[in-house]
Amino acid sequence: MKLRDIAHSRTGDKGNISNISVIAFDAKLYPLLVSQVTAARVKDMFKDIVQGEVVRYELPNISALNFVMDQALGGGVTRSLALDAHGKSLSSALLDLEIEGGIGDTDEAP
């Protein structure tokens, strides 16, 4: 399944740094996010775009992860050559990430 089946997401921008939240639809799915949506996988997915490091913050209280991606916006919204200078579309791209196992194991349709 895709990340989009179990989580939602929003991108924010500040200077040349983009942050993407990944929030479990259900608190029971949060451990799956923690184990599978790692900073390394996010960095790999955006390797053509993000020049700096990717740091992950965990927020178990709200079943969310926050990825902070340095040097991700072509110099920032004010000087970027990109069409989406804010990087607002990045969250939707991340939701395409493949997730293995999880909710489907017990209640999959026949």
């Binding site: 939602h8 929003r10 200077g15 939240s21 053509d48 709200i62 969310a64 072509g74 004010t78 069409l83």
Partner: protein, 445 residues
């Protein structure tokens, strides 16, 4: 326990106006906050002010004030806004003029000044945070330097009876924190209360983004009534507890999931969200749905405020030239790629000097590059070439090379556009807070 209701009437300068009118009319609010100032807006507004000393405030200020002032005046709703941009005093005078022309009772309108710290910053040794330079290094390219002020001067203006408070550069959540400090008498060193107040402000500051805007994803997150989206109301208790809601019957949704997305929007380390009034800690925040379109948010904490204020420095960075052209029908992507290759070679052949370039096929890979974009073959593509240069003259040449594809490029290219502009960019420095001295100036309508 005492409570106030704060409406969020705008999430950015160009935002819709009628949801704010709806809030004023039907929201049972005591405060209406308009957050209208983007990162680079002050620098552009400073440029406008240099040409005309009575300008430099938000372009929609007049329209917004005309729409809400009569309702707010009749109901005693206080307005707090950063629509002052580069010229809060002119914005206050304009607002007074509007109130007078509309025959409203005497209103006290406060302008918060002192965020302009250009003199303290220009030519100094303060290091730029984003790249290796100092203020001196930026030299004459610097257009503006504005410190993010905290809630104190706005709260002082409210205490002194302001009906409308207009600031320039201030932290966005501080626009909301000020009414809380004023209404509840919060201490400026109660870090946990201030931290929770920042949670409240941060959640409300983008208006529709917490009521279902920037959220809908059909089949995954369906939202009703986006064309008549209601803006949020924060019902804040004296202890900082927030209930987010909206006007009954307006479109959109307030739910745990809309609130969670907004909590992390533009946040880096959730334990250390730096603000002029407090370092807020979002890590222990809890979010619970307590009714239809009612979400309770508690648990924001904080630690002592930083010794420095963040300053946005506007400077002339470079020039950007751009050209676009469309291809459709059979083999469109291949013709688009050929067009890009031709322009790439032409820029070299004709010696256009660029420090950075970008070659996109819109509809194929313009957002996230070739790897993520190489998935489908669309019916049409739009070629886009853009580059950074040191002069406007050089920037113009980029668009020209795209336009000449008409008669010199692949078959069937159409719809060329080109542009060239200067780039006013923003960098940040940290200024010792003593060097910014905000004050309140009143104008009577």
């Amino acid at each position: 326990m005492r409570k106030i209701r704060i409406g969020s009437g705008a999430g950015y300068s160009g935002d819709r106006i009628e949801p704010a009118v709806e809030l004023a009319e039907k929201g049972d609010i005591q405060y209406l906050v308009f957050e209208c100032l983007g990162e680079r807006t002050v620098a552009l507004a400073q440029q406008a002010r240099m040409k005309n000393p009575d300008s430099g405030f938000d372009p929609l200020l007049e329209e917004r004030m005309r729409a809400v002032l009569p309702i707010c005046a009749s109901k005693g709703i206080k307005i707090v806004t950063n629509m002052g941009a580069a010229n809060p005093e002119a914005a206050a005078r304009k607002t007074a003029e509007i109130a007078k022309a509309m025959g409203l009772p005497k209103l006290k309108i406060a302008a918060i000044v002192g965020d302009d710290v250009l003199d303290a910053c220009k030519g100094s040794d303060l290091p730029v945070l984003e790249f290796d330079s100092t203020m001196r290094g930026l030299g004459n390219k610097v257009l503006s330097a504005n410190a993010y002020l905290g809630a104190e001067p706005m709260a002082a203006a409210l205490r002194d009876g302001a009906d409308v408070v207009i600031t320039g550069r201030a932290s966005d959540p501080a626009l909301f924190l000020a009414p809380m400090i004023h209404a509840f008498g919060w201490s400026m060193s109660d870090w946990n209360l201030l931290g929770q107040g920042i949670v409240v402000g941060h959640l409300l500051e983008c208006a529709g983004q917490i009521t279902g805007g920037y959220f809908a994803d059909p089949g995954f997150k369906d939202v009703e009534g986006l064309a008549r989206l209601g803006f949020p109301i924060g019902e804040v208790s004296e202890d900082g507890t927030l209930v987010v809601t909206k006007v009954d019957g307006s479109g959109g949704e307030v739910s745990a999931r809309t609130c969670k997305e907004q909590l992390l929007y533009e946040v880096h380390d959730p334990k250390r969200y730096l603000q002029p009034d407090v370092v807020a800690d979002f890590s222990q925040v809890t979010i619970e749905e307590i009714g239809r379109d009612r979400v309770r948010v508690t648990g924001g904490q904080g630690t002592p405020r930083p010794d420095t204020l963040k300053v946005s420095v506007g400077y002339v960075d470079s020039y950007i030239g751009e050209g676009q052209m469309s291809y459709a029908g059979s083999n469109a992507v291949a013709r688009g790629r050929l067009a890009l290759d031709i322009v790439r070679e032409r820029l070299k052949l004709t010696g256009v000097v660029t420090s950075e370039t970008r070659f996109d096929l819109i509809g194929v890979d313009s957002l996230h590059g070739e790897t993520l974009g190489a998935r489908s073959e669309p019916y049409e593509v739009r070629v886009r070439v853009t580059g950074r240069t040191d002069s406007l003259r050089e920037a113009v040449r980029i668009g020209n090379e795209v336009e000449t594809l008409y008669t010199n490029g692949p078959a069937g290219g159409g719809g060329a556009t080109k542009s060239a502009r200067d780039v006013v960019a923003v960098a940040s420095v940290l200024l010792p807070r003593e060097q910014a001295t905000p004050s309140v100036r009143f104008v009577e309508a």
